[in-house]
Symmetry: C2
Subunit: 200 residues, 2 copies
């Protein structure tokens, strides 16, 4: 059985977006699967006492520069959305409405939403946007919009977020491989090396 | 004239300690000088709303693991001090008491203090420890201990910390080269590449 990398991401995290462009290739190199898992990063803020990077004094200006520098370095198309951050409930719920029965489409939709937000700089949270991106990936947009309003899907996202936090996730992106946690787009090189060498 | 890398560090930052083992070699490779600049990281906490990493819920456990994993990766001797964090006023003042007239000794003392704290796991803030480490580096320990009690040196450290924050420093280690800020031990590879390529 292939080794699995758990990839925890928040739809409104620019660093997680950068990682979303890189993690599948790294995994493929080592014959691993990637388990994409969106969660609500905001739920960790009341625990860590931190807030959105770009709204944190001093850190905000730096992070904008650093994100763009990393996007250029890794050749990832990047544009900071005009409205940022936004609450990504609809995005993450749409993912979980699909993932059990249509895992490939769930991942394709996640990539489509990320492209909308961080490559085009648009609002990725609106139902009509999600429905449009769903259709582009062969998903029935209207059924999807109904699903994300159900108590089951709302609860599912709460549970996924709670489980992430129980595992120690406090930021995005966050990865686990061999029970080893790696936080940040800037740990992907180490994750890659870990898979290459078996750890150190 | 050689290009200068500004290296801002806090004596009780494990990540800055790791960087202190690497920055001079990276600079030497590119014919650069390193301008070592200790500052009081605690002064940034009231601005960013953050606190010591190891005391931050969720983040604390991860950072202990990550620091040790990075120490092994870069072959840096590491031991978490029993008492952590401690207020590094004495350490930073001792550095500034020396740096104008004995820059090489100031840097040697900084390395000695770092070794005491993070390679041996001892308390590096006690006057007798600082005096002993000073003596090992050919510095008059007693004069040094007198200097760090003077209003001039106390003010000097306040000014250096204030200037760092004015430049946007909010964490340790923090580097500038070509007016380009880099935050974190994990940005040294990019700093290296920046010097190699002239930037991107």
């Amino acid at each position: 059985m292939n080794k699995v990398i758990d990839f925890y991401f928040e739809f409104y995290s620019p660093y997680a977006y950068l990682a979303s462009h890189r993690i599948d290739d790294i995994a493929a190199k080592h014959g691993c699967e990637v388990n994409w898992r969106p969660f609500m990063l905001g739920a960790t803020f009341s625990i860590t006492g931190h807030g959105p990077l770009t709204e944190t004094p001093l850190m905000g200006d730096y992070s904008l520069l650093d994100i763009q520098r990393n996007a250029r370095l890794h050749n990832v198309p990047f544009q900071m959305p005009t409205e940022f951050p936004k609450v990504s409930l609809n995005c993450a719920r749409a993912f979980y409405a699909l993932v059990d029965n249509q895992p490939e489409q769930a991942k394709a939709l996640a990539k489509g939403i990320y492209h909308e937000i961080f490559a085009l700089g648009n609002d990725g949270t609106q139902p009509e946007t999600i429905a449009r991106l769903a259709k582009q990936n062969g998903i029935d947009g209207e059924t999807l919009l109904e699903s994300i309003q159900t108590p089951e899907i709302k609860q599912r996202l709460k549970d996924e977020t709670g489980n992430a936090i129980k595992r120690g996730v406090f930021g995005a992106p966050f990865f686990f491989v061999d029970q080893q946690p790696f936080w940040g787009n800037d740990r992907l090189e180490q994750l890659d090396r870990w898979l290459e060498t078996g750890g150190w």
